[in-house]
Subunit: 248 residues, 2 copies
C-alpha cells in the first residue's frame, strides 16, 4: 500500500528533561508512532530507569539514557515550563550538539526552540516558538525569528513548532517529509485529527483582548526568568554545576 | 481574574490500563492541567509504583492504585488498542462502576466508550466513539450511538469523544462546563490550540476514498476482535480470571 514501504527504519529521539510539557512529547510521539515500523520514536533521559517528570506531574520512563542513545535520524526537542536550568545543563545541551552532528532533521516544538538555540543549532536559521516566548528567542542574535504565529517553520533541515499543540501539525508535516503524504493522511485519519475547537482563542491573532491580556500577564514571570537565563547562555556565565553528579 | 476562582478543587481521574492510547490521556490531561489549581487530574493504575504501558510503548507511572483512589468528581476513560481483555477485567470495570456511582461527570474518549458501555454506564445515553469502532459500540443494545463523526457528544452527565485527538476538543468543553468559558479560552491560548492540519483526512466525511479504504482495512482485525469480546460481555461469558492476582 505504502509507496515508501521499502525505506529503512528511521529513528526519532525525544530527549526529556525535568518540567517538559507532556503534550509537546506525546502529540508528536503518537503521530510518529502511527507510522510504525517505518518510524521508531524513543524517549531519552538522564538515566534509563528513572522517570522524568513533566511540568504537569506526569512521570514517564525514558527508553534510553543520554549516554547510551545511538545516533538519531531525527532529533525532536520538546518545550517545557520552569526549565530555565536546562538551558545551562551541559549534559542536555551536549547531547543535543552531539546528536545534531549526525542527525538528518533537527526539530523542536514550543520553548524547545530555546534549547536548540542554546546549543547553537538555530544560528543562521529561521525558526518559531510558542507565541508568548518570541521575545526570548529573539535574544539569540543569529536566530531569525519568523513573523506571526506559524504552526511550524521549515528552514533547510530545521523544523521548529509554535506552542504546545502545534506539535501535532508539525509532526504530521515531519511524517509527510519522512514517509510521504499518504502516510501522513492515514495517520491523520486513524487519529481522527479533524480538530474543531469550541472557541477561537488559539493564538494572539484571534484571541479576545481580555483573554490575551490575562494570559500574557500570567506568562510575564516565566518570560523574564527565561530571558535572564538566555543572557547567561550568551555571555558564557552559566553557573557551574555543583558537586558530584550535577547536570546528570 | 477568574470569575469562578472561589470554586473548590475538582478531582478528575484517568484510569490507565495496558495498551491505552497515550494521546487519549495526555491531550485531556494537559488541557485540564491548565486549570490548576481548580482542576486536579490524576492517573490511576493497578499499582501505584508500577508503570502502565501505552500501546505506543510509553510507560507512565500512575498517581494512585485503583484500590486507594478517593472518590472522583470526573471519571475520564481513555481509549486503547488491543485492550480487549480490559472489557472483561473485573478490577477495571468494577472501578468504573464504583466511581461512577459518586461522580458528577462520566466521560470517555475514543474506544474508552466501550469500557463505559461494558460497565453499563452508557445504557440509555447517546454516545460517540472513534469513527472506526461505531459498529462495536452499536452492539450494546441500550446505547444510542450518535450519527456522523462528532468530536464529542454530551448527554446529561455523560460526555463521550470521538477518536484519539477528539480528546482535545472534548477536554476544552469539559473545562468550559466545570470552570467556565473564559477559563477554557485561556487554556486554549496557552496551549496555542489553533490547529491547522496540513491535510484534510481527519475523518471519513473528508478523507480521500483510497486513504479511508486502506485505514478501514487495517482496522478490520481489531474491530472483529473487539466485537467478539463485546459479545462475551453481553452474554456474561467473559473468561474467568486465572490464578493469583489475576485482573489486578
Amino acid at each position: 500500500m505504502n509507496q515508501n514501504s521499502s525505506r529503512q527504519n528511521i529513528l526519532i529521539g525525544i530527549p526529556l528533561y525535568k518540567n517538559f510539557d507532556a503534550l509537546d512529547v506525546v502529540g508528536p510521539h503518537q503521530t510518529f508512532f502511527m507510522q510504525d515500523p517505518q518510524l521508531t520514536t524513543l524517549l531519552m533521559g538522564p538515566a534509563k530507569c528513572d522517570p522524568v517528570e513533566s511540568y504537569e506531574h506526569l512521570r514517564i520512563l525514558p527508553d534510553w539514557s543520554f549516554d547510551s542513545c545511538p545516533q538519531l535520524d531525527v532529533l525532536f526537542v520538546p518545550g517545557g515550563v520552569r526549565f530555565d536550568d536546562t538551558l545551562c545543563d551541559e549534559t542536555y545541551i551536549g547531547f543535543l550538539k552531539r546528536q545534531a552532528a549526525g542527525a538528518k532533521l533537527i526539530t523542536s516544538v514550543c520553548t524547545g526552540a530555546l534549547l536548540l538555540a542554546a546549543a547553537g543549532l538555530l544560528d543562521g536559521y529561521k525558526a518559531t516558538i510558542h507565541w508568548g516566548y518570541k521575545s526570548v528567542l529573539k535574544l539569540f542574535p543569529n536566530v531569525i525569528v519568523a513573523d506571526g504565529f506559524p504552526r511550524f517553520v521549515i528552514d533547510a533541515n530545521r523544523i521548529t513548532g509554535g506552542g504546545i499543540s502545534s506539535g501535532l501539525d508539525e509532526a504530521m508535516a515531519i511524517v509527510s517529509i519522512l514517509v510521504g503524504n499518504d502516510a501522513a493522511k492515514r495517520g491523520q485519519l486513524i487519529m481522527q485529527y479533524a480538530p474543531q475547537p469550541i472557541f477561537n482563542d488559539g493564538d494572539p491573532s484571534t484571541a479576545e483582548p481580555s483573554i490575551l491580556y490575562e494570559v500574557s500577564t500570567d506568562l510575564r514571570g516565566s518570560v523574564e526568568s527565561l530571558s535572564r537565563k538566555v543572557e547567561q547562555v550568551l555571555s558564557g556565565t552559566c553557573p557551574k554545576p555543583k558537586g558530584k553528579g550535577a547536570g546528570k
